[in-house]
Symmetry: C2
Subunit: 184 residues, 2 copies
């Protein structure tokens, strides 16, 4: 059958929050990159607290035109096995917030995705005022997507679309190690 | 910094369920395609009840090598504005179940994603026994991902990883129309 094409009449730059403790937040952010690439839209994905471990998306994203990808961190702050002190994580996240501000206002992107920023805020690597300022100063037509568990209520209040991803089950609780292509 | 590479020692074919009423289920499935493509894994994505409306992922998925994409339906059964009778939706979904069985056992894929199948089961377009049979006869190393709201408890029981995506807010409730790149 022939595909019908929607055309958005009134364009609005949405603020989208993807939070909760379940698997799928970053994965959904990657799906947005893929969908946007299909439309020829320009995306900037900035990942907070990532940059220590390889994941398939690092090469997957290279397949998409018009998607710029930044790994800005050194892994999750405070989790077991992460050797970097708080001040280093904070310095990386502060650089990432600066980068985010530049990209959002650059005019070079239709969608900016800040992966794990909710988590970075919860861990005090960035400040609430900094995140609210990014939202407040965003050009009206830019979509801004904020992922990570424990989204701040003031961020949720300013968002148009918010999904909470809840873990019902996770394979690692049965002792199954992370599987390539699904977990990383 | 240098990226560390995980290597899964004990490979297990996971059953992953993505359910709930929130935005992000299909989007996460697309993200899995992107992640898997980055690893060079082979993915088959079969979408139930989709095929009436264009969405960015249709062209986005074409950018990924080793991802096969099937639109098997005519839109959501029973929603306002969908003109097709139940028996036509059921016939399409029955074809899709047959296709899914073929792809899962073909040896040609590492990951098979059945998008909206939970919803198709809830709407009686496919039968519980058919879905459980797909899970039961899946080769041990194939990952099988089932998305859609209202996942059946017997499907959840057989899954390793289950995320429920809950809607906290959605832009359309404020009267904002679907936005290209985010909503479709």
């Amino acid at each position: 059958m022939e595909l019908q094409r929607l055309e958005t009449k009134e364009k609005t730059g949405l603020v989208v929050v993807i939070t909760g403790n379940g698997k799928g937040k970053t994965t959904a952010a990657l799906g947005l990159c893929l969908r946007a690439a299909g439309h020829g839209l320009r995306v900037c994905l900035i990942q907070f607290m990532k940059g220590d471990l390889y994941a398939g998306e690092i090469d997957g994203l290279k397949l998409l035109p018009n998607v710029e990808h930044h790994l800005t961190g050194k892994g999750f702050c405070g989790i077991r096995g992460n050797p970097y002190p708080f001040r280093e994580h904070r310095a990386n996240a502060q650089d990432a917030i600066g980068l985010a501000g530049d990209k959002i206002t650059s005019g070079a992107f239709d969608i900016v995705i800040l992966d794990e920023i909710n988590n970075a805020l919860k861990l005090k690597l960035v400040d609430l005022s900094q995140v609210l300022n990014l939202i407040a100063t965003k050009p009206p037509l830019i979509h801004l997507v904020l992922t990570g568990r424990d989204a701040h209520p003031d961020v949720i209040r300013r968002a148009h679309t918010v999904t909470e991803m809840q873990e019902i089950k996770h394979a690692f609780r049965e002792g199954i190690e992370p599987q390539k292509g699904i977990d990383y």
